[in-house]
Every structure is written in structure tokens, then in C-alpha cells.
């Protein structure tokens, strides 16, 4: 029997594709090199990786499943608060706290998703806004639990595995965050390149079609929404553990907005878009904020507009666009 191309889905490779593998290694090599080269800025690097993870979780719902949400900060914040509160009242073990945060955020995703995923479009968007606002206001009012607008203080985090303390230099937090990001990246990559991920892509394109072939659309969306919430919660827990502080802003609408900007900037539906978007966003913020504290928002806003107008697939498309331009130039010269 002749082999049939399986389209978007990867065929089982005949051997190891070294070039592709090298490409995949780039972000992780950068992350490791950064650890040694920028030892004074590890906190900054950790922050970027946390936002990469958060943006990647958003990519699963927004990019792959086509669920347009502005409420994803809810899961980031819930994860952060769960990790923080757990460390104060129950145990300072970072891994245990992290797992608790993941479970709590997943539950939040499951419950809110079940409540609103039967709606679509603007209705859904408004409901996600409503939910994140309600949770924000609850966290603001429940001072006894969350510290209200002073933020959650007094977190005590035990050393990782009882050996590596979360110190002010941020070595432990950096390595820990990198490993967690790597594990989630592998899981997310598997997920989007599975039959399940394939069906989500179908739902994004045409839910009516998928229903007509017997796809339980609501259940599939609920599944990815819950998984995505778990990953966002994991990012929140990393944020809480690395800074030993949780502020109300983790639950704010602005946080939802920033993560969306990062994802759109980098490019949706490719997982790596989150990497590019977060790095560019925070570096631009860092550089331009030195010039003027207000200036950087104009720059980021301008970049976002330019990206949306000219690069359909975000900054991840830059390489392809540049290559096409180069080829066209060369062709016009030879002609």
C-alpha cells in the first residue's frame, strides 16, 4: 500500500530530524545560557518564563480551540492565591503547593467553563469578563484570606526538595520555572498534535460541521478549557513562589489583556508564539521604560498594531515574510 500524506498531522518520522531538533532546542539553550550570562537578572528571566507559560495556556483555548476569552487572569490569579494561601496555612512545600494550585485552578476552569461554554462570541467574552471581575472583587473583599488590596504577605516557601532555597538571587526559582515550563510545553505540544487537538482545530473552524459528525463539542471545549486553566494556575503558582507575594493585580482585567497582547504579538496557534511574544514584550518594556515610564506602552501598542496589520501569524511570521521578500527581490533582479 502506498503511504498517504496525513496532512497537518505529523507522519511518524523515518529518522531523527536533527535540524528540526536543533530549532526546538533554541529557546531552551537561550534560557540556559541566560542563567549563566545574566546572573543579576534572573528574576527578570523568571518573570518572562512565567508569562510564556501563561500565554501558552491561553494559546490552547484562544489559538487552537478558538475560544475568545478575556478572563484568563482568573486562573492565573487563582493559582497564585492558592499557592500562596496554601504556603501560609498548610505547608511551605513548593511542589505540594504547586500541585494544589494546579488542581484548584483546574477546578475553577471546569466549573466556570461548564457554566459558560454553551455560549459563543461576544456573549462568551462578556461572561468571562464578568467571572474574572467577580473573582477580583471577592479577593478584594476577603481580606482575612487574601489580604485584600495589600496583597497576600507572609508566604514561607521551604527549600525545593529540602535542599535548594528560593533565595533573593532567584537561582532556584529560575531553574524550577524553566523545568516546569519545559514539562508543560511537552504536554501542550502532544495535546495539540493529537486527535483531540485535531478535533479542537475542527471546532475552531466550524462547530456546526463537528456537531454533524458526532463530536461532543461542549465536552471537548470544556476539556481544553480545564487543562488550560490548570496550566495558567501553574504559572500563577510559579509567580507566587518566586516572588513570595501575590497581589490583586494577578486577577485584574489588565493581566488578561497583557497575556492576550503577548500571545497575539508572538503569534497564535504555534505554542512558540508565547515565547517570542513574552520575550519581546518584556524586553521592550524594560528598555523603553528606562527612557520614559509612559513611553513603553506607546511602543508596545504600536508594535501590536503593526503586527496585527502586517503579520497575520504574529512575530513568528517575520522569518517567513522576510524570506518571501528576499526571494521576490532576487527574482526581480534576475528577471
Amino acid at each position: 500500500m502506498t503511504t498517504i500524506p496525513t496532512g497537518k498531522t505529523p507522519a511518524v518520522p523515518a529518522g531523527i530530524n536533527w535540524l528540526g531538533l536543533a530549532g526546538h532546542a533554541v529557546p531552551w539553550v537561550i534560557a540556559i545560557v541566560y542563567y549563566f550570562m545574566a546572573a543579576d537578572y534572573l528574576t527578570f528571566g523568571t518573570q518572562i518564563m512565567i508569562w510564556i507559560l501563561f500565554a501558552m495556556s491561553l494559546d490552547l483555548v484562544l489559538g487552537y480551540a478558538g475560544i475568545v476569552t478575556l478572563g484568563h487572569a482568573a486562573f492565573f490569579g487563582i493559582g497564585a492565591y492558592a499557592a500562596g494561601i496554601f504556603s501560609i496555612h498548610v505547608s511551605g512545600d513548593p511542589i505540594l503547593g504547586h500541585l494544589v494550585a494546579i488542581v484548584v485552578a483546574a477546578l475553577a476552569g471546569l466549573i466556570t467553563g461548564a457554566m459558560i461554554l454553551h455560549t459563543t462570541g461576544v456573549t462568551f467574552l462578556m461572561l468571562t469578563l464578568a467571572i474574572v471581575s467577580v473573582i477580583f472583587e471577592y479577593a478584594n473583599q476577603a481580606k482575612w484570606l487574601t489580604g485584600g488590596d495589600d496583597g497576600l504577605q507572609g508566604m514561607v516557601i521551604n527549600p525545593l526538595f529540602g535542599v535548594y532555597p528560593f533565595n533573593i538571587f532567584g537561582n532556584t526559582a529560575y531553574i524550577y520555572t524553566m523545568v516546569v515550563l519545559f514539562v508543560w510545553f511537552l504536554i501542550a505540544r502532544r495535546l495539540v498534535r493529537s486527535p483531540f487537538g485535531r478535533s479542537l482545530d475542527g471546532i475552531r473552524q466550524n462547530p456546526r460541521r463537528m456537531r454533524a459528525i458526532g463530536t461532543p463539542v461542549w465536552w471537548r471545549l470544556l476539556a481544553i478549557y480545564t487543562i488550560s486553566a490548570a496550566i495558567a494556575g501553574s504559572a500563577g503558582a510559579l509567580s507566587a513562589h518566586s516572588t513570595r507575594f501575590v497581589g490583586l493585580d494577578t486577577l485584574s482585567l489588565l493581566t488578561s489583556g497583557i497575556v492576550t497582547v503577548i500571545l497575539i504579538l508572538g503569534g497564535t496557534r504555534r505554542l512558540y508564539g508565547a515565547f517570542v511574544g513574552a520575550v519581546v514584550y518584556f524586553y521592550v518594556q524594560d528598555w523603553t521604560a528606562k527612557i520614559s515610564p509612559y513611553f513603553w506602552e506607546i511602543i508596545v501598542g504600536g508594535m501590536l498594531i503593526a503586527t496585527v496589520l502586517f503579520l497575520e501569524g504574529g512575530l513568528m511570521d517575520l522569518g517567513r515574510v522576510a524570506r518571501n521578500l528576499f526571494l521576490r527581490l532576487r527574482r526581480s533582479r534576475t528577471a
Binding site: 496532512g7 498531522t9 507522519a11 493529537s194 459528525i213 458526532g214 463539542v217
Partner: protein, 251 residues
Amino acid sequence: MSAEPVLSIRGLNKSFGALVVAQGIDVDLMPGARVGLIGPNGAGKTTFVNLLTGFLKPDSGTIRLDGIPIEHMAPEMRVRRGLARTHQINALLREDTTRENVAIAVAERERYAWRMMRFGPQWRRCCEEAQELLNSLGIGDAGDRVVRELPYGQQRLLEIAFALALKPRVLLLDEPAAGVPSEEAHRIHDVLDRLPKEMAILIIEHDMEVIFRFAREIIVLLQGRVLTRGEPAQIAANPEVRAVYLGRTVV
């Protein structure tokens, strides 16, 4: 041939406010049935299909598939039980290749689409089955083409391929040849002629040539009610039908 109908509809009613769109409709589909549903625009043909597939909920009445009531089931559950449809307006995954479109339907039929960890050899089998189906419909060459770039006639065939990939026992064809240029329409007609013998099929079509060639029983719908039913020859001769519907059509 079995005497039990595979799809049995009794007393189906539906109205939107004062507008009655289905009133006391009774239909039985035997295995291998070829039933045509005709009626003027607004007679409730597509509404009827939507009631059967579950996109609309009937006010009253029963729908039984293999004797099991399905009128309260969600659309996807009905599909899983063997009730498939095509759409009057294409509902395709336009960014994917033709083969992938069909393979996804096969995967869903095989209960394989919940798998969250990478593609296995099953996916290859889904693709192979999809390709065979496309070959049998005469669009095998288009397997690698992205649906968006496909000629409209081939998209209509793909719409049928989607439904066939589910191996349904009852197939509802909602104007399969709608909008297809007449010089390409014969390809759709050929496919209709070669549909599996044992499949029960209900077809809605405005093209009387197609209906009278394909159907062995015709139901005429008017304002949500069954005006009359019978063999094609009877229907063509029925003065009432000629008055409301066939008036200007030469059969």
C-alpha cells in the same frame, strides 16, 4: 428486507409562535428507502431535517431510530446512533485538506478523537479509509488539496463524503446538488445512484429531475403539513401537487 422501519416519526409538531412549521408529520423510513421530500420554499423541509437531527426541538411527537426514542437527544448523540445529514450550505473545514476533512469524520466515528496523546497508527487508517471514500466518489485526486481552493461541485461531493464516512443507517440529504452548475450536476447524480443499497435515505431537492429519478416515494410538504405522498408517478399526476408546486415544471 426487514419490515421494521429504521427511522420512525410520529405526530411531529413544531411552531415558532403563531407560525406552524411542522404539523402532525408521520414518516417511516425502511432500510434501503429512497424518499424524496418536496414542497415550495418555506414549506418546512429544512425545518423537518433540523427536527430530525436535533438542531431544533419538536413541541411534540416522537422520533425513533431503531425503535429507540431520540427526540430528546443532543445532535451528536443522534449522529453516533447512525443518523447523518448533509447541509444545504456547505459546512466544511476550509483550512484543511479534503482527505483530512473526511479522516476527522472517520476518527470521530471510531471514537478515536478523544485521544490526547499523539497520533497513532489509527490515524493513518482513518486517512486511508478517507482516501478510499474520496476515490469512490470520484474526487480522489483532490485528497491533498485544501478545501478552500476546491471547485464548488467538488465541495458538494465532500459534503456528502462527510456523511458517508460516518457509515450511517439513515442519511438526510439537504439539497445535495444546490448551486452546482448543470454540467457538473451529473457527478452528484452518479454518486446518489451509487449510495449503499441498505442505507435509508431522505432527500430534499428542488431539482425535480433529480427527485423523480432518485426517489421511490415522494412526500409533498406544504405549510408544515404532509399534503400528499406516494410513488413518483402518482405525485406527478396529482392535480393538487401540480397546482401548488409543480405548476410550472415539466416533468
